[in-house]
Every structure is written in C-alpha cells, then in structure tokens.
Subunit: 413 residues, 2 copies
C-alpha cells in the first residue's frame, strides 16, 4: 500500500463480523513485496455456491480463465488470491502456475481442483512462481479463522492507499443473513498494479444459478459504473459465495433469483457492491475529488450510461475537475463525442445545484461564484439532462491530477 | 500561442509559395486576445471548388452546421476563420452570429452567403459578437494578398505553440500544380482551446465531387489517425479548395476522383495531410514524446485501427511513455480492452527494433537496456502484431504528462 492515504478515503471502517461457513488466513509468500502479506486463502468447509463476473478483456489473465472454467460446477471450497504478480500474459507458464496453485489448494483443503478459485494482481508478464504457494497453503488452512476480514483485505492490495471492506445484513423469510465483502483497486485499471478484485461472501443459502443472476444484475449500476482512467485490466474479478450456513437458523434454500423472498437480500447486496465500488473510485490513483455524473432524459438507460461514461472518461473533463473549473463546455464536448443521440439545443447541465447551461446555451442566471463553490467540494455532483427521453444512469469517477501521471509514469523506472 | 515551443516542433518551416487564385488577410478584431491577429479571411476571386469533412460530434458548433449546409453548393468564394471564441453551444445566438458573419463576408467579397465558409475556435458557450467582423472584412478584402500563408496560420492558433504550414507540388497531366495547407490544434480536442482546423488550397482544376472524394479518402490515414487525448471537438473542420488557376497552364478539369491523372496529386495531397496531422500531434498539449503505433496481423484494417487507437488513447500507455518506461504489459491491456479479436498467446510487441514480447509472453531474449534506450528517444515507434490476419493500421499520439494536466486543469481559473 502507498504511504499517503487518499483524502477521499472513508472516515471510518465498519467492524467486520465473522461470517459462518468461511475461514481465512493470510501469509507472506514473498511473491514480490517484502514485509507484508501477499496471499489470501479463503476456505469453505462445506461446499459454497459460487457466482462470478470477470474482465471483458480479450487478453484475460490465466487465473480468469481458470475461474471461468470452474464456475460451471457452481461449487467453491477454496479461494487463493495473491498480490505482487498478476500471472497475466505469461503464456503456457501462466496456465501451469494456475494448475499448480489449484492442485496445492485442493490438497491443503481436501477438495477437487474444480472447487478452487484463483485471482492474482500485480506485475504483468512476469512468470508467477506457484511453488511458493504450495509451501504455505497447508499451514494457512490450519490457521484459517472466521474473524479475519480486515487482514484479508490488506493482503490483496497493491497501489491502494487503504483496504476496502463492507458488511450488510438482510432478512430472508425472517432469518437474518450477513453479507461481507472485500475489494482492491485504485486504477480502472492498470494491469501492472491496479486490477480490481472483489470477493463477497454471505451465509445465506442460495443456489449458484440464482447467485449468478443476482451478481450479474448487481454489477451493472455498481462496479460497472465506476471508472478511474477507462483502462480495463486483464484480471478484473468479482466473485460472490453463499456458504448456506443460515440453514441452521431455518432459512430454506433459495433456488431462483426472482424469488420474492430475496428482495431485501438483493437490496443489501447491491448496496454493499456500490459501497465497495465507490471505495475503489475514492482510492483512484492521484484522486483528490470524486465526481458523481448523472445523465437524465436520454433515449434509453443504455444511452444515458454511454453518455455518462463518455463524460467520466474524458481527460479534459477530469482535468477541469482537478482544476476546480466549472467547465461545462467540456461536458458538452463529451456528450457530443459519445455517439448517442443528443440535441445540442435541449441540453441542460448542473454542477451541484447550480444550473450552468440550459436550452443549448449558458444559463443567463448562472453565477460563476456559485458554480466555483461547488467545484471546491471534495464530492462533486454533475447532472446532464439530454431532453429527449426518459433514460437515466449514474456513474462515478475521480479527477485527473498530476499525481496520476506521476504514479503511472514513474512506476517501473 | 503559448510561450514555450513544443520540443517536438519541426526544426524548420517550409517557404510557403503564393498560390494562384487565393488571397488572404488577417486582422485583430479583438474577439478575445489582445495584441494579436484573430481573424483570417480567404478570398477566391473566381469560384473555387470546395470539399470538407467535419467533427463527428453530435453537438457540433454553429459554424460546422453553416459549412455543412453550404457544402452542397460546391462553390467557395470566401472563408472566415476566427480564434478566441468557438461559437459552439451558443444556441440561437450562435446561428445568428454565423448568418451575420456570412452576410458580412458576402458583402465584402461580392458573392452569395452560400459561397461563404466559416470556422471558429476558442472558448465554448460564450456568445460570439459577429459585429466585430462586419467592421473589418471589407478592408481585409482590399488588403488580401497571395503571399500570406505564414500569417494566415498564425491568426487561427489558440494553445498551439507553433503555426502549422505545409506545401507540396504535383503534376496533373504534365502541368505542375501546388497544394498549400495550414492547420491549428494542440489537443484532440478541447472545445475551449484546441479544436482542430485545417484549410488546404490547390490551384488545380478539380470538380467539387472529385475533391470531396479525395479528401474523404485522404483524411482516414492522416487527420483521423492522430489523437492527443481522445476528446473530440464540437468544431473540427478540414476543408479543401481548388481554385482551378492551373487552367491557365492548360490543365484540363478533372471531374472524377478515380481519374488516373490524379495519381500524383492524390499522393501529394495525402502527404500534405499527414504532414499537417503530425504537426498537430507534435504540438499536443504538454507533449514531450511522439508515439507511432503500428498494428499488424489484425482481422481487418478496421480492427487494426481500433486496436491502435485503443493503445494510443490509453492513459496508462501514455503515462508510461512519459516515464520512459517500456511497459508492454499496458500495451497488452489496451489490446485486450479494444474489443477486437485478439489471441493473447499470439501477440508480439516491439518498442523500436526491440521485440519485448512474443507468443503471449515476455521475449526471453529481450534486453531491458535496449528497450529503455528506445524509450529515451523523442520519437518512439511501437509495433504490435496480433498474429491473426493481415489487417494493418498506423496511428500517432503523444505522451500524457503533468504539463497536460496543468494546461487543462488551470486554463479557465
């Protein structure tokens, strides 16, 4: 982790409760870093249902390939995550490393390799020496304990300036279940150092297909609505596990995602995913400001999201935010370049509560002083109304600062 | 213009010959700047054939709308270009300003408003006071002279650190014709200050439809293959005029773009467009290095270009270049995020002559010292072979530096 904590970091961290059915341990395997933990083992003593979503990169890492294959079985018994090396773009050596790690974890935990899931984050293109895991996983399984979430979050970070944790509870048919999650990520996303990884576990008893449907729906307005720099990692991984331990309290297994009993759980899960996703943006490399961009009045929700991401990924919008400049002209530019239907003369733009443009021109009543005051805030809401339909979307990003250039220009040298 | 000239600026500028059939004058109309010219008038005493390509923005500026309408007539008699105000996102006031400017120019030159073309660059969202042109265009028409290209280039710049000019000659059926061009642009493209504008004139006699076909084909591998920051202006304008003065030397009018007599002219035009486009990249805001990215072995030429632009627009690739870091992992990332077909295990990557990756992993013979030496160059060639087909493309970009953030974060404040 970097020394200076992001000014946007949460002011406090939740106490993370132990969660029935999962045990964890970390170790210092010496993959790259000295004097810190770099491997996390999660163990499910009873088979857990599993769901996952992964990077859309056409050049995914070896662990992503490994997870995609095992996901079809729907059962997890172990998860191994390492930082320091992404095992990406490592050719046949990468596949061999995932096979060896899977085998080592299966032996340590006593399961099939098809019940093991892997994630790696760190330097790309360097072979990963998986024999380092083989030596530590057995002992880790013996030590693994339930009350370990903060330590788990710390073991998987790279350029993050703080560990990311979140917890929620919900009722399913009168039974209280817990959802715990950890995440890492600071760029969106450098394959070198800032892949986004997140692991979420619940003690609810939910079948894998239902879990997958919940996760696939939940990721859209959360992890898939944040961007730091528009770059997509080879290794992005978000997994959701259900240990089913709430059976002990009488929770009947949920088989379908559209089961009305899931309503509160779905809300809690989505809230937790959003919390973790925003923690990633708030730790964006070099970030000094967080921007929430809401687009309304687009042709469709999908069009609204495309426009919102075009604004969020524009270097000129992001540098303007860094400069505390209420530069709505650059917002117009980003709307125009998105390719989605827009009518210049119907656009309206707000920074915070200040409407700066309306009907395709500067708002005659707009006060530069009021707009500047909004830009001095740490969290800046931007709203654009396209004026054509009812499509809406909200995305989050951070500003583009000299520190971002420094972090990413100086890293390997 | 900025005070410090880009280190990537051309070492010398060509002597720009006068070109028969076009006269030019500049003036200081006081649109925004003090103590510099900010209006350019080009006059064609005989009707010139005209072609144009414009921004793909869905929110184009009022002058772009004006030009698109007049282009169908195929005839130009006057061009008015101003810097300091983009007349973009100015609503009905914007249209009124273009109508007044068109009328003023038509009166000054003695032509129809449908034979006038306009371009504006500078601040967005501020109403443009077109009455300032009305007062100066008549006198400008009287003073306009043929030997004025360098001055013309200077009047249209904004954040550029040097004026951009280029000249070529070619033979059409044994008659020598000249092509002169000017351009401005330093971001790709901030609506505030760095819209790309370019005006190219030839004394060849070529019909408007043929001219349009030549320009549309020529822009693909030149102006449409350069990027500074992936941002697209509301105002990008590239126009090509043919005065037809070479008729005096016996050049017979060319009616069709596929006329074999155009072969040398086409080459010279494309060469000039490439020269001007690269001058824009070399003046990229904050740029210290120029990067030429060539993609080979893609499924198609279009796929190769998408991949090349994904690499060229990646903030992480561009910051790595700024840091003189041969960070091929980020190149892999950018290939993967492009969405085009790629096979991780067939990729090969070169920096200059140094192959750093092959068959989806680090080249075992690669020397970090040799790669670092390439990264210290001012001009850096990057080649990626996808290994799937025969599609190729080359694009050009510059590095992303702290100065870019400074220029664009500090501009309005």
């Amino acid at each position: 982790m970097s020394a200076a904590v992001s000014p946007l970091a949460p002011k406090s961290y939740p106490a993370m409760p132990a969660l029935r059915g999962v045990r964890m341990a970390t170790a210092a395997a010496g993959i790259k870093y000295k004097g810190r933990t770099d491997v996390l083992l999660m163990v499910f003593d009873q088979p857990a249902a599993v769901a996952g979503v992964f990077t859309k990169s056409k050049c995914p890492s070896a662990p992503v390939d490994f997870c995609r294959t095992n996901l079809s079985g729907g059962i997890a018994r172990a998860v191994v995550v390492n930082s320091g090396n992404a095992n990406a773009f490592t050719g046949v050596k990468g596949r061999a490393a995932t096979e060896l790690t899977g085998k080592s974890a299966a032996e340590a935990v006593g399961c099939s390799t098809s019940e093991v899931f892997l994630a790696s984050t760190g330097v790309i293109g360097e072979p990963l020496d998986a024999t380092k895991f083989a030596g530590v996983l057995g002992q880790m399984n013996k030590e693994a304990t339930g009350d370990f979430w903060q330590d788990a979050a710390k073991a998987i970070v790279t350029t993050d300036t703080y560990p990311k944790v979140s917890t929620r509870t919900a009722q399913i048919d009168g039974v209280t279940v817990t959802i715990n999650g950890i995440a890492k990520g600071a760029g969106m996303i450098a394959p070198d150092m800032a892949t986004m990884l997140s692991f979420v576990v619940t003690d609810a008893d939910i079948a894998a297909p239902a879990l997958q449907a919940l996760l696939a729906a939940g990721v859209g307005p959360t992890f898939n609505s944040v961007t730091v720099d528009s770059d997509t990692s080879t290794s992005d991984t978000l997994m959701l596990f259900a240990t089913g331990a709430a059976r002990e309290d009488g929770q009947a297994r949920i088989e379908h995602a559209d089961d009305p009993k899931l309503s509160a759980f779905r809300d809690a899960l989505n809230d937790l995913l959003k919390d973790l996703a925003l923690q990633v943006v708030r730790d964006g490399e070099g970030a000094r400001k967080m921007v929430e961009i809401t687009v309304t009045g687009a042709e469709s929700d999908a069009a609204a999201k495309t426009i919102a991401l075009s604004i969020a990924n524009s270097p000129l919008v992001k540098t303007a935010v860094a400069g505390e400049d209420a530069n709505w002209g650059r917002v117009v530019m980003a709307v125009g370049k998105s390719g989605e239907l827009a009518d210049r003369d119907r656009l309206a733009i707000w920074f915070g509560g200040v409407r700066v443009a309306v009907n395709g021109e500067r708002d005659a009543d707009y006060s530069e002083a009021d707009a500047s005051a909004v830009m001095k805030q740490q969290d800046i809401p931007v709203r654009v109304d396209i004026g054509l339909g009812s499509g809406t979307a909200t995305v989050w990003t951070c500003d583009l600062t000299k520190e971002y250039v420094e972090i990413n220009g100086d890293y390997r040298s």
